[in-house]
């Protein structure tokens, strides 16, 4: 049984990693061939970094992701406080709406927002670009913030807030001194989730970006439409290494935090 499970795990890892490994290997390939390795080169990496389109779309991606996830975090955190004070019926209705962007297929989210933006573009001075892109990203980001902060907020002992007020804190100060530190882990994980979803989003951006503010996934898509462009392999390798580093760091940090908590106990 043990052997069987190891074999199965190995085969699945092979299936999951082999395509990525092939991309990585061929990012160093001398020729444009996708199947025969003719020699080692860094040429594609150089071309990649000199490719202005890719660099600007990378910058666009970062700007959109940072702005959208920050706004979504503030919007979502404030929302949680307000929603918690609601009566049961309205609360349930709001949570249903919160779930819509998560459940709905991305393409429907993208298309529906495109319809809205086209409507505004025709009547007001709205152009497809950064503004529409950021609005769209905030919209699919903010539910994840709400869903991450909500459980943390619920765990807070209501007496703590009252105690702070009894001890002379105003409502605002009580919020920053008592509530905020308690829900901080939820806010951070919500922000990070929103940020990664923004970085990675293709479908919604595709319908809401117009032609001026292209994000990296849109540029990647345009590149895959062309016949052979080994720069994609180089880009994939870099992205893979970044993902690997971030996840390993996250793992190490979490493990340290767990150990600390273990010591305290």
């Amino acid at each position: 049984m043990k052997k069987l499970s190891k074999l199965y795990l190995g085969l699945m890892l092979l299936f999951l990693y082999l395509p990525i490994l092939v991309l990585i290997v061929f990012s160093f390939n001398d020729s444009k061939s996708r199947s025969v390795f003719t020699g080692f080169t860094f040429e594609w990496y150089e071309k990649l970094f000199r490719n202005e389109l890719i660099m600007t779309s990378l910058a666009n991606t970062l700007i959109v992701a940072v702005v959208a996830s920050l706004i979504a975090t503030v919007l979502g955190t404030l929302a949680v406080i307000g929603i918690s004070k609601m009566r049961k019926g309205p609360k349930a209705a709001v949570m249903q709406v919160t779930n819509i962007p998560i459940i709905n297929p991305e393409i429907v989210t993208g298309v529906s927002m495109m319809l809205l933006f086209v409507f505004f573009a025709a009547r007001m001075n709205l152009e497809f670009g950064f503004v529409t892109l950021i609005i769209a990203h905030i919209t699919f980001d903010v539910p994840y913030v709400v869903l991450n902060v909500m459980p943390k907020y619920r765990q807070i002992d209501a007496n703590m807030y009252e105690a702070a007020q009894d001890l002379g804190c105003g409502p605002v100060r009580a919020f920053f001194k008592v509530i905020l530190p308690e829900i901080m882990p939820g806010i951070i994980s919500g922000f990070l989730m929103a940020f990664t979803f923004s970085l990675d989003d293709f479908v919604v951006s595709y319908f809401t970006s117009g032609s001026t503010a292209q994000t990296l996934p849109i540029t990647i898509y345009a590149m895959t439409r062309r016949k052979v462009s080994p720069e994609i392999n180089a880009l994939s390798t870099i992205i893979f290494v970044c993902v690997l580093v971030v996840l390993v760091l996250k793992n190490v940090i979490e493990r340290r935090a767990d150990k600390k908590r273990g010591v305290v106990r």
């Binding site: 499970s5 395509p19 025969v36 709001v94 709406v97 298309v111 529906s112």
Partner: protein, 269 residues
């Protein structure tokens, strides 16, 4: 009272950018450009029933394959030594964090006529086989891109199963296989259900995988919608009604799944 107001910006935001756009989809589906009510666009969707059938069929196959591959994997992961379990799960999930366009592109280079698989087969005198631009390639792409969404929820549910429940089953005379079917399987069903929806919904609505791996001949619902909005045949009314039908299909399937979920809760109690 004051605190309630804090959610006002959020409520306005969601109303304007979630509810209103969906209402607009419904409006475009039922009203023509002059504002007259019409069922023409919804009726037009029927022309594309073969594409709908193909999408549901391919997404369903991909979902089943994901489930069959992911379930044992999640089970083995949950059984692993706790020291390495976290790291192992991270390794399994890691490809999910790669942009899915790049992951799909990887298969494009693997499956092509001059791709690495056909080249290797050529060395032993086989092929070249036509693998790219087939329905099989589309299903493979769906499985590869979305299998982490199946592994993760199933694993999460399995990891939460109380070890003492498993021990109790053993004490009461269940062997390993029987414990798996009598205890682990029913307890893991909620994870399976959310895995199924998390794979099926993106699979049925994708247009990237079908375009990159399916060539022009294996259109899915997603392609159809995309063509109405950004393609040569700009027709937002038809696009909206196709989107509406897609949402209804997904809603029906989700309701079906929720039916199962309720039953599971009873089992868990």
């Amino acid at each position: 009272m004051k605190q309630k107001l804090l959610s006002a910006p959020y409520l306005v935001w969601m109303a304007v950018f979630v509810i209103v756009p969906l209402v607009m989809v419904a409006y475009f589906a039922f009203f023509d450009s002059d504002g007259n009510f019409t069922l023409q666009y919804v009726a037009d969707v029927a022309q594309y029933s073969n594409i709908f059938v193909r999408s549901v069929w391919l997404a369903a196959i991909a979902t089943v394959i994901c489930l069959v591959l992911a379930y044992p994997l999640a089970y083995f992961l949950s059984k692993m030594d706790t020291k390495i379990q976290g790291t192992m799960v991270m390794i399994v999930i890691l490809p999910m964090w790669m942009n899915f366009l790049l992951r799909t592109y990887a298969w494009m280079t693997l499956l092509g006529n001059e791709g690495i698989i056909n080249t290797l087969l050529g060395y032993i005198g086989l092929g070249p086989f036509k693998m790219l631009n087939t329905q099989g390639a589309v299903v493979l792409g769906m499985v590869y891109d979305y299998i982490p969404y199946m592994i993760l929820p199933i694993y999460t549910v399995m990891a939460k199963i109380d070890k003492s429940v498993l021990e109790a089953a053993n004490d009461l005379g269940c062997n390993g296989v029987k414990t798996l079917f009598k205890v682990v399987l029913p307890l893991s069903l909620p994870g399976v259900m959310s895995g199924i929806t998390m794979v099926f919904v993106p699979a049925i609505s994708t247009f990237i995988i079908s375009r990159m791996l399916g060539g022009g001949s294996n259109l899915l619902i997603g392609d159809l919608i995309e063509m109405q909005f950004l393609g040569n045949s700009y027709n937002p009314n038809l696009g909206a009604s196709i989107s509406l039908v897609l949402m209804v299909i997904i809603l029906l399937i989700m309701t079906l799944m929720n039916q199962f979920d309720v039953d599971d809760d009873r089992v868990l109690m």
